[in-house]
């Protein structure tokens, strides 16, 4: 049974270690807007920010070119950093880039590796908290989206999605739908019927 919780709402009467929750005075409280599953003891944030983890794919824009490093704007509290020696390509400020987070340092910086320049296409901004839903279990949702619309989709965990070719309008519409209805069940089916209607 899932319920919507707000910051400061009591989740459990006993102290439990739950992501996005705090323990105070022997009880567990939520710190975010979320959907709490009482049986699985899992709190899924409905609104949230992206905390970079090594291995995350991100999409960003080159903000500065400093000869040995590129600084990447990830539209997050973290900056991205690409060392020129890690890159086969040369970038200029304003280029779109896809990369993977290699490591984090203490100064709000994510060091990125495996950069790839993205040319053309379109960007869609979504809430970072909805990314797991957009990917779906085992990337099921995004695979279906790509297959049915023949669009190149690169999902950045930081909430930026890059699209190219195929049915841009249809994919954008589907992404919007996923974002708005992320906390409901039966979503995959509805997205599939949207794609079939549009195709």
């Amino acid at each position: 049974m899932q319920r919507i919780v707000i910051p400061g709402e009591k989740l459990e009467d006993k102290p439990l270690r739950i992501e996005g929750a705090i323990v105070d005075n022997g009880k567990t409280y939520s710190t975010v807007m979320g959907s709490y599953d009482q049986d699985k003891k899992a709190l899924i944030p409905l609104e949230g920010l992206w905390y970079p983890m090594p291995g995350d794919t991100v999409v960003g824009r080159i903000a500065e070119d400093k000869f040995t490093v590129y600084i990447v704007d990830l539209s997050a509290p973290y900056r991205g950093l690409i060392f020129s020696k890690d890159s086969n390509e040369e970038f200029v400020a304003g280029d779109l880039v896809e990369a993977t987070v290699k490591e984090l340092d203490k100064t709000q910086t994510a060091i990125l590796g495996r950069p790839r320049k993205l040319t053309g296409g379109k960007l869609v901004y979504v809430k970072p908290s909805k990314i797991p839903r957009i990917l779906g279990r085992g990337n099921n949702m995004i695979k279906q989206l790509t297959m049915k619309t023949h669009t190149d989709v690169t999902v950045g965990m930081n909430g930026i999605i890059w699209l190219r070719g195929g049915r841009l309008d249809l994919v954008s519409e589907a992404l919007n739908m996923i974002q708005e209805e992320a906390h409901t069940s039966g979503l995959t089916n509805r997205v599939m019927s949207l794609l079939e209607l549009g195709a």
Partner: protein
């Protein structure tokens, strides 16, 4: 412009046990809250509290600028409370921050420094904007109430959802939620912000005189009024989600719907 009468010619604020707008001593004005009203903000809220109309917006966390304001251990909060030039009968909101706006910005900032989990975002800043469009007394309390909802919609983790309310003293009666006229002519005006879960007072200012017993009664009244306000905040936050959930209620999926996180 209406000139304010001197405090000698005090209007009668309580007639036959009812206040000027027909409320009892413990009644709040009607409150409605809406979320996500500013598209560019990370989180935002709009509150109508009696005749008060206030927009609150939250931006960030982002890189703290200028650099010297950054704290390498925690995020810093920057708050701007402002009244629009057209918001009130007096000349509030002339260009630039004034003494009053600076003070309210400071106390609002300190409220949120106590509930936002700043240690999660070292070196960054979180901006809170509270913009008063129409003022009728108690704007700092209403502003904090709205900003708390805005902060919750932004997804920035908070340990609690604070609310604000002002308590006043008219003659010997302690009353809840003063409006503009009552604020001007009351014997005391005590705006309060309370963190209901932790049962802590995060803001308490006093204009006028109250006895120790008065203050105790005021705090009790504020907590009681807070139950209503907290309920409204929570309803406003849940409403958009429950609406969508209601629409697709009972629909089951052939896929396992668990999120892959």
């Amino acid at each position: 412009m209406i000139t304010m009468a001197s405090s000698q010619e005090k209007p009668q604020l309580i007639v036959d046990g009812k206040r000027l707008d027909g409320r009892d001593a413990g009644d709040l004005r009607p409150i409605s809250i809406q979320t996500n009203v500013v598209k560019n903000a990370v989180g935002s809220a709009y509150i109508e509290w009696g005749n008060n109309k206030i927009i609150a917006a939250v931006y960030g966390p982002k890189e703290a600028l200028p650099k010297h304001t950054a704290n390498p251990e925690r995020a810093v909060i920057k708050c701007r409370y402002a009244m629009s030039p057209f918001s009130s009968l007096e000349d509030h909101g002339r260009t630039g921050p004034n003494r009053r706006a600076t003070e309210i910005s400071k106390v609002t900032r300190e409220v949120f420094e106590n509930v936002v989990m700043l240690e999660k975002f070292p070196g960054s800043e979180i901006d809170i904007y509270v913009e008063v469009l129409q003022a009728d007394g108690g704007t700092r309390a209403a502003g904090v109430t709205a900003a708390a909802v805005a902060m919750a919609t932004s997804g920035i983790p908070m340990t609690d959802l604070p609310f604000g309310v002002s308590i006043g003293k008219i003659g010997e009666t302690i009353v809840v939620d003063l409006n503009k006229i009552e604020d001007n002519y009351s014997d005391a005006d005590v705006p309060m912000v309370i963190s209901p879960r932790q049962d802590k007072i995060l803001l308490l200012q006093m204009d006028g005189n109250m006895t120790k017993d008065n203050i105790k009664e005021a705090i009790d009244l504020a907590k009681k009024a807070g139950e209503t306000i907290s309920k409204l905040q929570s309803d406003a936050l849940r409403a958009p989600y429950l609406e969508v959930m209601e629409k697709y209620k009972g629909e089951k999926s052939s896929y396992d719907e668990k999120q892959a996180d």
